[in-house]
């Protein structure tokens, strides 16, 4: 099971209350099971107080938990090293066998209770990936990862694009979609939590659509975002293609690509390549079940859709 810390810690719900009680129990029993971490270089057996220390220092319950359905806590750690995780699961399973949970019966209300902000009916969800394709071996390995997110295209926007495309003439892509892509998805999410762009940081932005064949659009444009202090930027070109279903107006065969140059560290994403680097952000359609549950980063963090829908 995976979840957003913000949903479990801050967004008031029965789920949030239940989870924070679990955190309290985990802390009370000091069940952090850090058996050394290759990532941090600490020795085996050092620190049994990860969760307690995290919560004391920054009120942050991020990490991996193992517990029973009744809330019996078994283990916690916040290391992502595969060997550490295997040890965590071994410890958790052993404790589960020693102290199995009691039977629980959840009611329908709990099972169907909203857990996070989900896309409105008729919204199309796209997957979003970011990548630094030329990350040299000399820099932090985190630069070789892939950033992920989901992107929402609202029902009325799908209709608007379909109507504009039906004219057969080239048209400017709806500004709301273009600005949403630029501000909340053309981000360097490769090394972790990215900074979204403020409205005033969008220096220039354009995206046009050209009908090409039955129900197909070719997209082309450009973008430039820069922080006020000029320390971080991302600028480049946009190319894309998508096919519009004539009945539902949903998109298929989607490939939207931002290809540009980025520079500068994010608040939580230091250790970027030392020089301006190529950054790619791609969007494509998805039918993953989690796409209907996991909102775009901006929505999940702010717990609202206002700014995301009207950037």
């Amino acid at each position: 099971m995976s979840a957003n810390t913000h949903d479990l810690q801050w967004h008031r719900s029965a789920t949030q209350k239940w989870f924070m009680e679990l955190v309290d129990k985990m802390m009370a029993q000091k069940l952090s099971s850090r058996h050394g971490s290759k990532l941090s270089g600490q020795s085996i057996g050092n620190s049994e107080l990860d969760l307690n220390r995290q919560m004391a220092q920054s009120n942050d319950p991020q990490g991996m938990y193992i517990f029973g359905a009744d809330g019996t806590p078994y283990a916690f750690c916040n290391d992502h090293d595969p060997e550490d995780l295997e040890k965590l699961m071994d410890i958790g399973l052993e404790r589960f066998r020693q102290t199995p949970p009691e039977q629980v019966a959840l009611n329908e209300e709990d099972l169907s209770a909203p857990f996070s902000i989900t896309p409105p009916l008729g919204t199309q969800v796209l997957q979003c990936f970011s990548r630094i394709p030329s990350a040299p071996d000399s820099i932090t390995y985190l630069n070789k990862g892939v950033g992920r997110d989901f992107c929402w295209i609202y029902k009325d926007e799908l209709h608007e694009v379909a109507e504009l495309a039906s004219t057969g003439q080239e048209f400017p892509f709806p500004e709301r979609i273009t600005r949403r892509l630029a501000r909340f998805h053309f981000l360097d999410g490769v090394r972790g939590t990215p900074n979204v762009w403020k409205a005033r940081e969008v220096q220039s932005l354009s995206l046009k659509a050209t009908p090409h064949g039955p129900h197909q659009l070719l997209l082309s444009g450009s973008f430039s975002m820069t922080t006020t202090n000029q320390r971080r930027y991302y600028r480049g070109l946009i190319h894309g293609t998508l096919t519009i279903d004539p009945i539902t107006h949903t998109w298929s065969q989607v490939q939207i690509l931002a290809d540009g140059t980025a520079s500068g560290a994010g608040t939580y994403t230091p250790n970027q390549p030392p020089h301006p680097y190529r950054l790619l952000v791609g969007l494509l359609e998805t039918n993953l079940p989690e796409a209907q549950v996991v909102p775009p980063y901006e929505v999940g963090i702010s717990n609202r859709t206002t700014r995301y829908k009207n950037p």
């Binding site: 099971m1 992920r148 140059t261």
Partner: protein, 71 residues
């Protein structure tokens, strides 16, 4: 608008014609998608129900931003 269009030691001709080639650079590889095969649940209460029925413990991974998305 001008910007460096050459990555380190790599051809990077930007054009609509090579969109698919460039798009492949950003898509995750099979290895990078392997963790998805776990079959992650995303509703805590439903996960509790399932764990109770299967008599298994729950492994919960939380980050600022769901790990299934941006984090």
């Amino acid at each position: 608008m001008s910007w460096p269009d050459k990555a380190q030691g790599e051809e990077s001709e930007i054009s609509a014609k090579n969109l698919s080639e460039r798009f492949q650079l950003v898509e995750p590889t099979e290895i990078e998608q392997k963790w998805k095969e776990v079959g992650w649940r995303t509703h805590l209460m439903q996960a509790r129900q399932e764990a109770a029925e299967l008599e298994k413990p729950i492994f919960l991974w939380i980050m600022v931003g769901n790990p299934q998305g941006c984090t």
